[in-house]
């Protein structure tokens, strides 16, 4: 974990970024070869109210009762951080001003290690990210430079070149009423990512006007897709966004490279019918990298469907087993060793509910029994996020992709759903969550 953070900080201290995180070596004890590092992180968030400041390190305390409603979370982050820092021989503190932001600092004591150890260190998982976006150009519209830097970082990890402007108006100006003839650091972006706050606080209808402007230019450059970035979004905001011309996929924050890739993949599109222009991602290679070597159990009561689903998944290198749902109880045992299960059942709905529920319930039951055992052993898991915790991703395959189905899935203990017949984009989005390269074993 420390190593990852170090890598992250190293990225941030690239010349490209002016991120406000600094690392200082405070003391170096020659004799014991210990070094105390101090790390400061500064943000421009809402800050912590003065009266709450004395309590924030306590577990389950948030600034006030509205924090969870607005920002989510359970209020244990800081208390965990404090514990970790103290375990590392350091101390944590902060300065915060409401409406301005906070600066958190902590110290930690590290040993030094021999120089030649670093040559053996593996390069971070940059290769595990989809490479199909390399060379893509993005324009990020964000009024907050620190936040924009983080966005740029995530895009950079995917090989995407990003420029930042602070408002939509500036974006319209820089992107070229004059096309690529304008000088300076003007780019012709393939995609425009807009922070929701920046869009909302800008003038109403700006984006509509802008779209018009692009079209009137006459010559055929393709209008770049616009995607919103947001930590949260209401239905009405979403509708407004769609009406203003934004793509109907919102990239949710905090950003994760794999989810950004999935959204870009969906918006930019892929498939035999669309032209594979320069910089367009090759869809199958994404799914390939995610599914290769993964064991998936497909459960359906129709063998044509089983065969087709298996064929599609095998194409991406998955190791597929099929089971008839009628025989399900006997196959539950084979669920272990599986990275993922895909269920489908017949409607009527009530029958579906009780079967899906029953099957999923029994799997989760077995999982919790196994977890109790695993916590004692140092067994390494498959398909789980943390050591000692089984959780097989279970996805529903359904032809009726309606809102109610999604909620029913979640109620049954399923993790999501995939539309049937499979479409690459949907499949990718659904599995990307579980098969992120960080959280799984390297495949054989």
């Amino acid at each position: 974990m420390i190593r990852n953070s170090w890598d992250v900080f190293k990225h941030f201290s690239d010349e490209d970024f002016q991120f406000d995180a600094s690392i200082n070596v405070m003391t170096s004890d020659e004799a014991s070869e210990d070094i105390t590092l101090m790390v400061c992180v500064e943000d421009t968030g809402t800050g912590i109210p003065l009266e709450a400041q004395s309590r924030v390190f306590m577990p389950f305390v948030q600034a006030d009762s509205s924090t969870s409603r607005h920002f989510g979370g359970t209020g244990i982050g800081l208390s965990i951080s404090k514990c970790l820092v103290e375990l590392m021989g350091g101390q944590i503190s902060f300065i915060s001003r409401p409406e301005v932001g906070s600066t958190f600092s902590f110290t930690a004591v590290f040993g030094t290690c021999k120089k030649n150890l670093f040559t053996k260190m593996e390069k971070r998982n940059a290769e595990d990210l989809p490479s199909g976006f390399r060379g893509l150009k993005a324009l990020v519209v964000d009024g907050e430079p620190v936040r924009a830097t983080v966005t740029r970082y995530h895009l950079k990890r995917l090989g995407i070149l990003a420029e930042v402007v602070s408002s939509l108006k500036l974006a319209a100006g820089s992107c070229g009423k004059n096309g690529s003839l304008t000088s300076g650091s003007k780019i012709q972006p393939d995609i425009i990512l807009v922070e929701k706050d920046t869009w909302i606080s800008g003038e109403d209808g700006v984006s509509n006007v802008w779209k018009l402007d692009w079209k009137q230019n006459g010559h055929a450059f393709k209008f770049p897709k616009m995607i919103l970035l947001a930590t949260n979004i209401t239905n009405s905001e979403f509708d407004k966004a769609k009406a203003a011309g934004f793509a109907d996929t919102v990239i949710m924050k905090p950003l994760r490279a794999s989810m950004v890739a999935a959204c870009l993949f969906q918006v930019l599109g892929v498939g035999k019918r669309r032209s594979q222009g320069k910089g367009m991602p090759n869809g199958s290679s994404f799914l390939q990298s995610l599914l290769c070597g993964k064991k998936i159990l497909v459960v359906d009561d129709n063998r044509v469907n089983r065969r087709v689903a298996a064929g599609a998944l095998k194409k991406f290198g998955a190791d597929v087993e099929c089971a008839d749902s009628a025989l399900l109880p006997w196959n539950l045992a084979s669920a272990f060793g599986m990275h993922c299960m895909m269920f489908t059942f017949r409607v009527p709905f009530t029958w579906v509910f009780s079967s899906r529920f029953e099957a999923t319930r029994r799997i989760r039951q077995m999982e919790s029994q196994a977890n109790e055992q695993i916590n004692c052993e140092s067994m390494v898991e498959e398909g789980t996020a943390r050591k000692g915790q089984w959780h097989i991703p279970i996805l529903a395959m359904t032809a009726d992709v309606i809102h109610a189905t999604h909620e029913e899935c979640l109620k049954c203990g399923m993790d999501g759903y995939v539309s049937k017949p499979f479409e690459e984009e949907n499949l990718y989005q659904a599995v990307a969550k579980f098969f992120d390269s960080k959280s799984t074993l390297k495949s054989k």
Binding site: K272, R273, D301, N302, R303, V304, N305, R307, V308, A309, G311, A312, K314, K315, R346, V347, P348, A399, K420, P421, F422
Partner: protein, 154 residues
């Protein structure tokens, strides 16, 4: 017929099947899944579909002949049929099943019987067309040629 001619015939025939709505994009997906490691994928899936469908149609006919029709059973069978036809891209059959299920919900006997006729008709049509297509593919391969899938995406 030499290979080139057969390939052209294949392309034309496949295109017409799509144009006339017998098959949809899902069938194309199946064709794309076929490759050297899986050379008979389409033929396999299609023959599974035929077997399945014959059984479903027989069951449906039986249930609808009864004095007291069990609409739940009818619906269950039609749903299965809809699922499998959708999985292979048999568009007309799938659409017939959708209409069929509406009549089931309404417990409309007349409507159901009409739908059964319609779905049988469309099934047998697509069956003969798929059989012809697969025969043509087998001839092309036997003559040493390959199936020109890429021609379809233009």
């Amino acid at each position: 017929m030499e290979v080139g001619q057969m390939q052209r015939a294949w392309v034309e025939y496949t295109r017409s099947l799509f144009r006339e709505g017998f098959l949809d994009a899902q069938f194309q997906q199946l064709q794309l899944l076929q490759d050297e490691s899986n050379p008979d994928f389409v033929a396999e899936v299609v023959s599974l579909f035929f077997e399945d469908s014959e059984r479903l149609l027989a069951d449906l006919t039986f249930v609808l002949e009864q004095q007291n029709i069990d609409f739940k059973k009818v619906d269950a069978h039609v749903h299965q049929f809809k699922g499998s036809s959708s999985s292979i891209g048999a568009q007309r059959v799938k659409n017939d099943c959708i209409a069929f299920r509406n009549f089931c919900e309404e417990q409309n006997i007349e409507g159901c019987l009409r739908c059964l006729q319609q779905v049988k008709q469309d099934y047998y049509l697509v069956k003969s067309k798929l059989e012809a297509l697969i025969r043509l593919e087998q001839q092309i391969v036997a003559a040493g040629g390959s199936i020109p899938m890429e021609e379809l995406s233009s």
